[in-house]
Each structure stands twice: as structure tokens, then as C-alpha cells.
Symmetry: C2
Subunit: 176 residues, 2 copies
Amino acid sequence: MGTNVVTPFKHADHDHEHCVDDALNRAERQCRDNGVRLTAIRRRVLELIWRRHEPMKAYDLLDMLRSERRSAAPPTVYRALDFLLEEGLVHRIESLNAFVGCGDPKQPHVGQFLICQHCNAVAELNDGDVYRVLSNKAAELGFQVNSQTIEINGICPACRQATQAADSLESPPNGG
Amino acid sequence: MGTNVVTPFKHADHDHEHCVDDALNRAERQCRDNGVRLTAIRRRVLELIWRRHEPMKAYDLLDMLRSERRSAAPPTVYRALDFLLEEGLVHRIESLNAFVGCGDPKQPHVGQFLICQHCNAVAELNDGDVYRVLSNKAAELGFQVNSQTIEINGICPACRQATQAADSLESPPNGG
DNA sequence: GCAGCCATGTTATAGTATTGCAGAGACTGA
DNA sequence: TCAGTCTCTGCAATACTATAACATGGCTGC
């Protein structure tokens, strides 16, 4: 009955090469199934997003893209992002004006995000309880839900540990 | 045990003059209590936001402000908004890049919004259940919550009624 | 080939937000 | 009252985010 984690926090020791490849393979497959084209640009933008494995800004993506494709301009990256959003391959984080890869583009996903303010890592949840509670509250008020934007800011487990360790070094209870 | 509605949807028949005055009085009182200054500009921006009673864009506020204060520039309105956000007198709707008045600035408010895509009306909730469910899910994953951005898009009760009425006129079951 | 469609190139512009510095105004304590 | 200090505002410039509009090119099916 645990929480459904679509995309976990990036762990320092996870096989990142593999994780990027997986995401691209999933994307290839899904686009083929849906009869849409994962063109070179679109694929590259998706790869750039997954490679950093954290929320990416459109203009940062543009800079990267430009270094390898002189003709890249804002519409280039925004069009690619629009496509990827449409296909559910990425999500937009409203509170950051940034984009993250989706770990499970196939299933319907409302996009519930935990965002670390310290290291920028993002985890995506798709939790039925959260969805239901919100939907029920809305229904109580006669409101018809179309989409939900849920973005939780805070500190991820890794940064909490790191911070606590640092704190105990910097200001020991009886130190001086 | 109902849902705690901080700011309900604006009803066509509510006493809007009174509602704006209330908001300004609350703001005056709170700023006095907190030892901060609700200057003319800040007060005016807050009033402009409440007067429309829907999410207001910074540059729309700027246009209004400029019509009565030649010197108004982007920093003028953004500084006022920063102050009002700080004091909890307004909230920022991330998904709209817009600002709404807060119906209850005193109590801690996480900001849970129902946003009508049809008429732009916004209701603010402060629902313990929603907060708890999200906090618990985060805690399960070792995530320390700092702030929550919750924005639900959909159709408000009034627009649902209006739409249904219009639909039944436009496309009656056996009509031509 | 070529007609139609989709993706991309290109230029321009719209919309959102911040920086940095200078000057004006309000509080504080002598 | 006055100087010192702090906050607020004026002002100009710029950074950042996103879209519009039209031209070009390339694939697909015939």
C-alpha cells in the first residue's frame, strides 16, 4: 500500500548511463506505438533532460543544443518540449519554470513532485490517496477537476543526512 | 469536518465593496501588528488585486498603477508584490504567473487553489487532510516538507451550471 | 514528380522578473 | 532639532521565459 514512486530521487550510486538509456528506449517505443515521430531534436532534448536528471530550464537546454546545432533557437527547444509534454515524456515544474523527465509516460500521471531546494533533485509520485483526497475536496465544493499541479518543496533524504552530518561537525553540543 | 475554505469563489451577488474593504482592513491591522509598513503603493496593489477578485498579472497591475502614478515601473509592482507575499497577504499562482489575495493572512496557509479555467475565479482552501496526506507521503520517503504548491485546474460550480444550461440549449437530445 | 503534411529555420516580439544605484522619506537616539 | 540609519521608491538597464508569423525543407502516399 506504499506510495507509488514514478521517478525516485537520483541516487549518487545509481547507474545513470543505464537510466538515460532506459528513458530513451521507453520514449522510442511509445512514440512508435503512438504513431508520432521522435525526431533527432526531440530525442536530443529528452536526452539532455535525463542526462542531468534534474529540472532543466528551456534556455539552458537551448545553450546545450546550440553548441552542437548552430541553428537552434528558442522555438527549437520549446517545440521539442511541447512535443515531449504532449506525449507525457516530460513534465513541467511550474514553480521552477523547468522540465523533468517522466519515469513512466504510459500511465496517466497527475504529476506530484517532491523538489529538493538544496540539490534540485526531483522525485515524481503518482499517489492515489493524494489524488483522491484532492478530488473529493473539490467535489464537495462542486468543482470539476481537470488537472492537478502538486509541487512540494523541501529537503531530500540525502541532503538531510548531509546537512545533519555537517551541522554536528560545525556546532557540536559541547564544542567550542 | 468540512473543507476549510479560506477564500470562496466570488459569487455574482456578493457584496464586493465590502469584501475589498475587509481585505484592506485586515491588511492594515496585520501590518500594524507585525510592525511593517503598508505604504500607499503596497496598499494600492493589494486593493487592485482584491478589486478584480481574480488572479492578476504583475504587468496588468503595473498598467493600472501607471495610470495613476507616472513613475510606476516593473520594480514598483514586484516590490509591492514581494512585500505582500512575505506578509501572506497575497499568494502567487505558479501555473498562471499571477497573484491573488489571501482571505486569511493570519493563519499559516499552504495555499491550495481551485482555479476555474472558464472564468478565472479562484478559491483558496486550507485543508488539513490534503496537507497531512501529502506530508505523510513525503515523510514515508524521508523528505522534509518546507512548502506546498497545490493548484487544481477545472471548472467552478457556477460555470458548470452555466455550461450545462448552454449545452442543453445548443444541442438538445432531439433537436435540430 | 508533386501535393499535402509535418518539422524545422529564422526573425521578431511579447511577457515575466531582477539588478544596481541614486535619491527621498521615515524612524531613532542624542 | 538634527545627524545617522534604515527603508522605500525612482529610474534605467538587462536578464529570463515564451510565442508569433512566415519561410524552407523533407518525408509520404499517390
